[in-house]
């Protein structure tokens, strides 16, 4: 089987991509959203013509020195600043309207105190780690009857490596693009884990079945044939999920556009890694064991 025989090339590709992802996360860093670090964001729309953004920034400078004003649509602006009390919120609205000179309506406002931000952030980390561990333990359990030629916990181990690979790459891409990292970002990573592990289980399940049926003499041939047998399914399932995500990205609400983009990348990478990374890794582990 081509993929199994040339696995070193694909390992190199995966390692390179993951390295790029890690590099990008370190070098560019995450553009943390306010729900993770605390702060507030407001979007308003002016009834008449939008005042000059410079003038708005000037009006806010005194009371909200850390504010950042951005245009939104034709008549609106976005402002990011520290977390605000109710009184400060009123004041901000007043100053945004240039003391009542430009009438406006508030489209959205979100203010999050630093403790909540910190809590959400650490919860997100724990959730990701717990999900990965839960999945790995389950796989080790589900494949417990498979011990030849490699034991079931190794399937779990490979899943662990592959799942980490699957979320590092999209996360790195997000760091590179400077997209906002918020709760939805975490939901997306968790969804990627869910979809990606589906894929891995389907391929591993086929390997398990072929091993039981003893159709092939050699482990690498078993893996190769299993890959061939599940290939169409892997591609088609990913394709349907990608279609839905594409629709969500193109037609869906603005708030989930980045979410859909991240998932799109993650599902593509997850499918790639099931076929080209996780499964050949089984063969490598078996070879290492033989030595």
């Amino acid at each position: 089987m081509f993929i199994v025989n040339h696995r070193k090339i694909f390992f190199a590709v995966s390692i390179a991509l993951a390295a790029l992802g890690i590099f990008s996360m370190i070098y560019f860093g995450f553009n943390t959203g306010i729900d993770f670090k605390g702060g507030s964001i407001i979007e308003v729309e002016y009834a008449g013509a939008r005042p000059d953004v410079g003038a708005i920034a000037e009006a806010l400078k005194k009371d909200f020195p850390d504010s950042h004003v951005q245009t939104s649509g034709v008549k609106g602006v976005f402002v990011k600043t520290r977390d605000l009390s109710a009184a400060e919120h009123t004041k901000l609205l007043q100053e945004l309207s240039l003391d009542g000179k430009s009438k406006l309506t508030e489209k959205q406002f979100n203010s999050i105190g630093p403790t909540i931000g910190k809590e959400l952030r650490s919860k997100a980390w724990y959730a990701i780690i717990a999900v990965i561990l839960g999945i790995v333990l389950f796989i080790a359990f589900a494949f417990r009857k498979v011990s030849e030629p490699i034991s079931s916990w190794k399937y779990g181990l490979i899943t662990l490596v592959a799942l980490t690979h699957d979320i590092i790459i999209p996360a790195g891409l997000f760091a590179f693009l400077g997209k906002e990292v918020n709760s939805l970002f975490v939901v997306a990573l968790l969804s990627i884990l869910g979809i990606s592990v589906h894929d891995k289980i389907v391929v591993f399940d086929r390997v398990r079945e072929n091993l039981r049926l003893k159709l092939f003499s050699d482990f690498s041939q078993t893996v190769g044939e299993s890959l061939k047998q599940t290939f169409t399914r892997s591609v088609n399932t990913s394709l349907t999920i990608l279609i839905v995500l594409g629709a969500l990205w193109y037609f869906g609400p603005a708030s989930t556009k980045d979410f859909a983009l991240l998932l799109f990348t993650g599902v593509a990478i997850g499918t790639y890694s099931s076929v080209f990374f996780a499964s050949p890794l089984l063969v490598t582990l078996e070879r290492l064991q033989k030595r």
Binding site: S85, A86, S122, Y126, A142, S183, N236, G252
Partner: protein, 465 residues
């Protein structure tokens, strides 16, 4: 042969009925038409989260540091009830007032929080005002002369002269807390002084409050009691005798209007514990509506595209998969209504993802069936074999999804919980629809003979047969 067909027909009819029920229960879709059942079913609308319906979400921190540890639970429940009453006064439909505890994971262990969600209210400033302005009523007694009192008085004098800061400034030099607060109030009414005609506020204590007030008055005869409202003294009457009938009167310099307002606020409940705003979120209604419409449209386009793909690639099994998926979607929508799942953008994402899982099960079955056919088996055997071979994959992958969902629900914040709930629900329902519905339909077709046509129908992709 007859039995699977009857079951298949029953499932199909049931699916259509469910779809119909979902359709007519949405006034927006059925358009006020008088289709049968639409009245009774419209009692189960979709429950939209604030991000889709527009509204305000306020997160408060409840300061329970002054409450005895055994009474924290009670006073928090009282706080929730009070805020709920206050919110209800303003006629918001379906407000949510709930308690939450800060997570130990976030380093905010034991922090008590109050979450208030007000659909349709987009003026956060007014909303925070109507909740936060509830009066904190406290009764305090004179601070006995002591070294501490002198120290606090000295600190205050220093502050007035030089502005010197001191931790002692947080304490009142002349009065101390008694524990008697608005929590123990049964009700308040406006009265007028018989002789002067001055408005006053009469308080009636609860049983517990009566005992406490009796004790305080007994111990403080000929001393003053200070009545504090929102941290400021409004009246310092002198106690003449022990008052054991559970009544008290406040005579401040009220105008009749002020007295009336105070009574209204006190009756809706004094806040048993102080609260501080931690976070505010406002979503304008048009923004929410646009998000909802876009989300529904995207879901529809996505499903349609999947349907076209499945039928084009998998032909007859594809068509059956589409039928099973339609029933799956109808079932899920019904479940959202019946158990009133709060639909947010994240929850819809979880649902859409579960559609992916449901499709996966159907693809697995179709692929395995095709493999068996390729080995030259008959159509009926191939279907049976296809199912049993695909089952272990479907089972294991879905169990891992459920594990993911449950962990997320466990750890989750409300956003992640919403996602996890629809996702797990979706995975469970999809297993049912893939196994039961798809299988029954395939058997009900009753195709056993293998000829050019049936081979074509069960083949896939670019193959002719």
């Amino acid at each position: 042969m007859l039995k699977p067909r009857i079951i298949a027909a029953a499932i199909l009819i049931l699916g259509i009925l469910i779809g119909y029920a979902v359709y007519v229960s949405e006034p927006k879709l059925a358009g006020g038409s008088d289709l049968p059942l639409s009245d009774s079913l419209s009692k189960f609308p979709f429950k939209l989260g604030l991000d889709l319906s527009g509204g305000t979400r306020l997160v408060y921190k409840a300061d329970v540091s002054q409450v005895a540890s055994g009474e924290v639970g009670d006073s928090l429940d009282a706080l929730r009830d009070v805020v709920e009453r206050r919110v209800n006064l303003f006629g918001v439909t379906e407000p949510i007032v709930q308690l939450e505890e800060g997570s130990a994971l976030g380093g905010a262990s034991g922090e008590k929080r109050l979450i208030v969600e007000l659909p349709g209210i987009t003026d956060a400033v007014a909303a925070a005002k109507m909740i936060g302005e509830t009066p904190v009523l406290e009764f305090k007694t004179e601070r006995p002369d002591s070294a501490r009192k002198s120290a606090i008085v000295a600190a205050w004098e220093a502050f007035q002269k030089t502005g010197a800061q001191s931790p002692l400034l947080s304490e009142d030099p002349y009065y101390v807390d008694t524990g008697l607060t608005g929590r123990f109030l049964k009700r308040a009414i406006v009265g007028f002084d018989q002789t002067t005609g001055e408005p006053r506020v009469s308080l009636e204590w609860s049983e517990e409050g009566t005992a406490l007030f009796g004790k305080i008055t007994k111990e403080n005869i000929n001393k003053t009691i200070a009545i504090y409202l929102d941290g400021a003294p409004i009246s310092t009457p002198v106690v003449r005798e022990e008052i054991s009938n559970g009544r008290a009167e406040i005579t401040g310099n009220f105008t009749p209007q002020e007295a009336k307002q105070l009574v209204g606020r006190l009756n809706s409940g004094a806040l048993p514990v102080p609260i501080a705003l931690l976070g505010t979120q406002v979503i304008g209604a048009p923004l929410g509506e646009k998000a909802l419409n876009d989300g529904v449209y995207a879901g529809f386009v996505g499903l349609l595209a999947i349907a076209i793909f499945l039928i084009a690639w998998y032909r007859l099994p594809g068509l059956i998969a589409v039928l099973a998926l339609s029933i799956y979607v109808a079932l899920m929508l019904l479940a959202f209504k019946l158990i009133s799942v709060t639909l947010t953008a994240a929850a819809i994402a979880g649902f859409i993802l579960s559609v992916g899982m449901a499709v996966d099960a159907n693809i697995l079955i179709a692929e395995r069936t095709k493999e068996e056919l390729r080995r030259g088996k008959g159509i009926k055997d191939s279907i049976a074999e296809g199912f049993s071979r695909a089952w272990s994959s479907i089972r294991d992958s879905n169990i891992s999804s459920i594990i993911t969902g449950v962990i997320l629900f466990w750890f989750g914040t409300s956003l992640i919980e919403g996602f996890a709930l629809t996702f797990v629900l979706g995975v469970l329902v999809s297993m049912f629809s893939a196994i039961t519905v798809t299988r029954t339909f395939l058997y009900a077709l009753g195709i056993t003979e293998r000829n050019k046509l049936t081979s074509f129908l069960f083949s896939s992709g670019f193959h002719k047969n």
